[in-house]
């Protein structure tokens, strides 16, 4: 039986980020992934690196991770593009909520600025008339998530990690069993996102389906990642289905359009009524997008933990099983910080930020 210091199950953005950190720490590493690298929720994601301020723990993890992303700005494969985030206020009420957001962001060291109405249209002339203003976070960026996962994995492989292109079928007393009946022994870190219950049924995980539409190359129309200020209501509300305006300029000149959230659907088929709702919301803010050519529509499933925060740490009741999963829509942003938190704990090192809000034991308790 092959023995490892750590066996990571899952090579999405979370598993590969963990592999990068663990291999850099000198661990003898196995990574188990039967499908394409970064081919699940990672490939379906927008790749917006963003600090969300409505939960202090999430803000701390996002901010920590955004700093770690700075080490990857020059990697071609990751397509890091610092387009900034522009949150759009559609009315005076939303505009009035901005100072409190600025303060929450400033408290952790994120610089953001209030954008007056006139300036909003200078920055983004394609926005619909009648909007109130916005908030810009200049240093935020977008990446290409499957490229990032591939890069992180390649770094781990270059440090001697082994990739098993197989399915992990079960956790065993001291490792995992693979679908060819072979066994790997060592501590296990499960990073299988929405598929977590197959190996760790004790940790609740729901799937939240999302749709994205990408256009052909239409450069120069949108400059920032644009979101409506009400986005967090859609993202963090618990409605069965919701849509929010969330549009991204890709470095290719393509425009990536989101977002939708649905519980209770495990069918990956594109739902045209949902696409219509999502695009209607988009046209409300960017009416000029109507004539652009849509190339492709796809869906993905966000892994949602019991309380919306990821599980990062030791699995309660198991000696040598760790988990990093359940990042909902923030997995790309928080992957790098999540990996540090988990691997630091695994190595009994102190963590850069408080790890307790993510301790899986909170659910078992």
């Amino acid at each position: 039986m092959k023995s490892y210091d750590l066996i990571i199950v899952g090579a999405g953005i979370i598993g590969t980020a963990c592999a990068d950190v663990a291999s850099a720490a000198g661990l003898k590493l196995a990574i188990v992934e039967p499908q394409a690298i970064g081919g699940g929720a990672t490939a379906a994601a927008m790749g917006h690196l963003v600090a969300m301020d409505d939960d202090p723990a999430e803000l701390a993890l996002s901010h920590y991770s955004l700093q770690l992303w700075e080490a990857f700005t020059d990697v071609a494969q990751i397509e890091y593009s610092r387009c900034g985030t522009l949150w759009v206020a559609s009315n005076e009420n939303e505009l009035a909520s901005i100072p409190a957001k600025l303060a929450r962001l400033a408290a952790v060291g994120v610089h953001a600025e209030l954008i007056e109405r006139q300036r909003l249209y200078q920055l983004e002339p394609a926005l619909a008339p009648g909007l109130a203003g916005g908030m810009r976070v200049l240093r935020e960026a977008v990446v290409y998530p499957p490229g990032a996962a591939r890069h992180l994995l390649d770094r781990a492989l270059a440090r001697g990690a082994t990739l098993y292109p197989r399915q992990a079928t079960a956790l065993t007393r001291n490792g995992v069993e693979l679908d060819d009946r072979s066994m790997l022994s060592g501590p296990v870190l499960v990073a299988t996102g929405a598929a977590l219950p197959r190996l760790l049924p004790q940790l609740p995980m729901r799937q939240r389906k999302g749709h994205l539409v990408i256009t052909d190359r239409h450069p120069g129309i949108v400059h920032h990642q644009l979101l409506e200020l009400g986005y967090a209501d859609s993202a963090h509300g618990d409605a069965d289905s919701s849509v929010a305006f969330n549009v991204q300029p890709r470095p290719t000149g393509q425009i990536l359009i989101g977002s939708s959230r649905e519980y209770g659907s495990d069918d990956s088929a594109v739902s045209m009524p949902m696409v219509q709702r999502m695009l209607e919301r988009c046209f409300h803010y960017l009416p000029g997008l109507r004539d652009l050519q849509a190339l492709r529509i796809w869906t993905g499933f966000r892994p949602v933990s019991a309380d919306g925060r990821p599980y990062l740490g030791r699995v309660p009741g198991a000696q040598n099983v760790w988990v990093a999963a359940g990042h909902e829509g923030l997995g790309i942003t928080t992957s790098l910080g999540s990996a540090r938190l988990v691997i630091d704990q695994l190595l009994s090192q102190s963590t850069a930020i408080d790890a307790s809000p993510y301790d899986p034991a909170r659910i078992a308790a």
Binding site: D216, R217, T252, D291, L292, Q293
Partner: protein, 82 residues
Amino acid sequence: MKTAGIRIQVDGRSVEVPAGISVAAAMAQLGLPFRRSVGGQRRAPVCGMGACFECRVQIDGIAQRRGCMTTVREGMQVCTDD
């Protein structure tokens, strides 16, 4: 079967082309280039039937439209990548 010419604008230049032909054919009759590829190479129509998307040009302000699938129309504005 030749019909009277119609006028279209290509890259701001007014030109006369036979009615009924495709935008792709009009561009070729005028000896004009089509799109540039992502890597900057010159490209021109290949399949002529809407499958290859090599004939994409901007038509009436809307980019990335297939020239081989669009019939010329009086006053039409066509823009190439150059």
